[in-house]
Symmetry: C2
Subunit: 226 residues, 2 copies
């Protein structure tokens, strides 16, 4: 039984690794689509989201099957439940990357954000690319230190996100109303991508250390539009 | 064992009912805060969110304990796993209601949305109040017909949400940039509340009928900003 359990749990872990890699690809490509008018990149994110959705369904089915057949307890049970929740988090990250890609496709060959906003969005893009790399390696190595870095650094993204509001509210802003809408919504999608990475990092911390992330202060605490 | 399982599952179901009621209260009060400059209502939503978060953690702990001790299979297992996911959906709905309340508190005694936007937001508020009622009764009665109504009616909210964009883009719009930001973000929060209600309805359908909601077309498919 134990051998089968470990094999099946390994299959779940492999699928989670694939999901994290697919989400990284979606984040990278949505950034390209947003800032470099890359229509192919946008379309790849949009088309690829169905694969991410399918991986989530697959992981949850495998976990339910594991729960039914193997009755895991203690750490094993914690890993199975956390794996289901991680899969849902990654699925949502895929959706958010897709929303960014859809905005880029809609305004192609222009960017949805005006030139005056590009430097700020490039900083957010770079941050998310790094976070996506960290998410992949955190998961592959079950590395709680990397998870901790994701959690600690999220303030940087929140700060960049706040700057999007100061930028559009400033008298020097010359963008259209449509561009203002896109800056606000795409900024929100990017900030949420960071929140979900934090959520994933908390779950990995929980798997590795047994420290319960629900006892820690939560992200996404009322800083969205203040 | 069976008696204990049913008792413990009943406790989870009761907590889920409480969560749905708390979320309804948060949705109702956030609508009051948004449209009627009700500062007490806003503060109640903000302060009450911690209780919703605690209920989620409690439900997940109970479910993990059930999985460990009772090894449910088949329908019972489906109910336990779906309960955990429902709890997470409700927790997120509480966050979104809190974001709306925070916006209302920030601009008090003014509304974050200008008078010209109030009729549209009142329609969205009314829709969400009805959806919150339906969510509570769907859950209390395990009623797949009510769940179906929630799923079918979500197009109405999506349509209202699209109108927020046409409204601010129209030449007749006289609001400030801050009001435009708030219309866009609060509109997004309200649309997401509807999406999460749909997600909850799919899970209840799954519990009641065994129909797998992941095989059905998904909401939140690229209509956010197009």
């Amino acid at each position: 039984m134990r051998v089968i359990f470990n094999e099946e749990l390994k299959a779940v872990a492999d699928d989670l690794d694939h999901m994290a890699q697919d989400v990284r690809r979606a984040i990278n490509a949505s950034g390209e689509a947003l800032l470099n008018a890359d229509l192919d990149a946008a379309q790849n994110v949009i088309d690829g989201d169905i694969k991410i959705d399918a991986l989530e369904a697959n992981i949850i089915n495998q976990c339910v099957s594991l729960l039914a057949k193997q009755n895991p307890v203690a750490t094993d049970l914690r890993v199975v439940v956390s794996s289901m929740r991680l899969a849902s988090t990654f699925e949502r990250m895929g959706d958010l990357a897709r929303h960014i890609a859809e905005a880029a496709r809609r305004t192609y060959p222009l960017s949805p954000v005006p030139d005056e906003a590009k430097d700020l969005f490039a900083q957010m893009r770079d941050f998310l690319d790094k976070t996506a790399d960290r998410t992949v390696s955190m998961l592959a190595d079950r590395d709680a230190d990397v998870a901790e870095q994701i959690i600690l650094d999220d303030d940087i993204l929140d700060n960049l996100h706040h700057q999007t509001f100061s930028m559009v509210l400033d008298d020097s802003w010359t963008g259209t109303k449509q561009q203002l809408i896109d800056v606000v919504l795409i900024g929100r999608f990017m900030e949420r991508l960071g929140d979900h990475a934090v959520s994933a990092a908390r779950r990995v911390t929980f798997i590795v250390s047994g420290f319960d992330p629900s006892k820690a202060p939560k992200r996404d605490e009322g800083t969205d539009i203040d």
